[in-house]
Symmetry: C2
């Protein structure tokens, strides 16, 4: 049973397994440095559907199906699916799962959703509330651009601080299967808002939350950054990453050596014209499932912190002059 | 520790307490049959804010503050807040909680959110993952109308099947305080889509999911409807309620005697011009906290099923010709 350590962290005694995992990514992501690591990639980012929303939903569905297939599991063996996404009313997740007859827990954590869903799935399995859970999320460049910024047809200019929403998804099965990798701790984040109002600079809005949650975990557990092969943030990008490292230094915490940001890793930032890096729920989800989980499963990595970051805004409320609250949820994942 | 009974239901051995609860409602809701039962009501549905989104957020914040106050609790005593709402990107919940420094789990269940949040909070406390959780949600007529249908200024005609989004919110503290009422079982629902495409007939879209989840609970536990003082649905309204009763009869389950629908209870349907009844996350949340929980706390009611229903659609995807998936999460609440 999970034990609370410090104020914010739960240590999972049973160390639930990530029994199966898979990732799907689009064309631009395939052309990036991690391109050959994704389970499924596609040239056709419509996924043979007639709208971007339906395309994203289809992508998530294919990702979940692939995860079940890789684990040789059927949907009857899954107790709960925990999923959410960026689209209004989380329709990607609902429509992807309406034909999969599994009890559904809808989450909203913006780009932190993968860390939230995998963390909650870990807690539920550890507590014996479920034998097996799926945790999944996605994002799609085209559906996100038109919903959060401008329709693609408008051809709007992107600011230098803008990030490129990843077309991708990731999904995992968390279970008590006793197979590597394992979920060993969860820190659920608090909402942090330092007053950033620029919806084209999400990294800056999310960085303070990332710094708080990583500090919370390290304070709660007394661990040193040196204990980890990687301290992974979701999608802070170039600007947010720098700011987060700076904020942590104010607490005398230096994670520069261990820090990796999925938003920086997924694209070749200089060559792929993505400005400050990648973003979107699918960014950290696909990089976790394509890059980090295989390294943990093989034992190349012993231990990582996976800190998903989200900007909890809507275009409507930002247009009304409000600042953008950020959140960061953290899950510790180990090879043993 | 929770035990699974049947395929879908978890029985909570520790029976976590609903230690404190409160509700906020608007002017129209105050004029309805339950008007004098809400903790806070207001003539000014702007809640002194300059947009409907900010108004809804302020309402939820006041509701959570009231719940803490009634329980003589401070925010430091709360381990997690579980909340979600209907607005794009769940901004009501994020903005209401950005000044409350509590780890935040964002949920999306549309109008089923209260049943989902109270159920998950119950599971977390029962499993020892938390000592105290807040579960909360809200909806606002004016923010919902302009987002899901038409701006109020347009003066659009409502169809006879339309429901009136409740301006209201409800919030509870779930804990191991051993005080009545108690959460004794949770059934997380599956997504059900029977092909309803009419976004002005939400009751019809949600009824199949309600029938499935109530059937699941009764099948899993072997309980008879007669064991309950009330079997409460969230906001099926007149049309959805009738359809749900009919669908359950196909399984030879008759809950007509015990059934109460929050969407029918909250308004005087004939006099208040609400067509098929009330709806919105705040409908079941406020009626639960204002009407049912006090009856359970006093012992007048011994046992109810609280089945929150949600339509998991966005206007965008319905305009693209998709049907509307429904979900229903169920929580059993007892006086002892």
């Amino acid at each position: 049973m999970a034990k609370r350590q410090g104020r914010y962290t739960l240590i999972l005694d049973e160390k639930p397994s990530i029994e199966s995992f898979s990732s799907v990514a689009g064309k631009k992501e395939r052309e990036g440095p991690l391109g050959r690591l994704f389970d499924i990639t596609t040239d056709d980012t419509t996924f043979k559907k007639d709208s971007w929303e339906k395309a994203e939903s289809q992508m998530l569905k294919e990702c979940i199906t692939k995860t079940l297939e890789k684990g040789q599991l059927s949907s009857e063996q899954i107790d709960y699916i925990l999923a959410g996404d960026l689209l209004n009313q989380c329709v990607t997740s609902s429509y992807a799962n309406r034909e999969i007859n599994i009890p559904f827990i809808g989450l909203f954590g913006a780009c932190s959703t993968m860390a939230l869903s995998i963390g909650l799935a870990g807690l539920m399995v550890d507590a014996g509330l479920a034998g097996r859970c799926i945790a999944a999320t996605s994002s799609h460049f085209c559906s996100a651009e038109r919903q959060f910024r401008l329709p693609l047809e408008y051809g709007g200019q992107r600011t230098p601080t803008a990030q490129w929403t990843v077309t991708g998804s990731g999904s995992v099965v968390v279970s008590n299967a006793r197979r590597s990798p394992h979920i060993s701790a969860v820190t659920i984040g608090r909402i942090v808002d330092l007053g950033v109002k620029d919806a084209c600079n999400m990294g800056q809005a999310m960085a303070p939350a990332a710094a708080e949650t990583i500090k919370d975990y390290l304070t709660d557990t007394g661990e040193s950054p040196d204990s980890f092969d990687a301290i992974v943030t979701g999608d802070l990008g170039l600007i947010g990453s720098e700011l987060m490292l700076e904020l942590l230094m104010k607490y005398n915490i230096n994670i520069a050596k261990q820090h990796k940001d999925c938003g920086i890793m997924i694209f070749d930032i200089d060559k792929q014209d993505v400005h400050a890096g990648g973003s979107g729920c699918g960014c950290s989800a696909s990089v976790l499932c394509a890059y980090f989980l295989p390294k943990l499963a093989s034992g190349e990595y012993k231990r990582i912190l996976f800190a998903g970051t989200g900007a909890l805004m809507s275009p409507t409320i930002v247009q009304q002059g409000e600042s953008i609250p950020g959140i960061c949820h953290l899950t510790e994942i180990t090879s043993q």
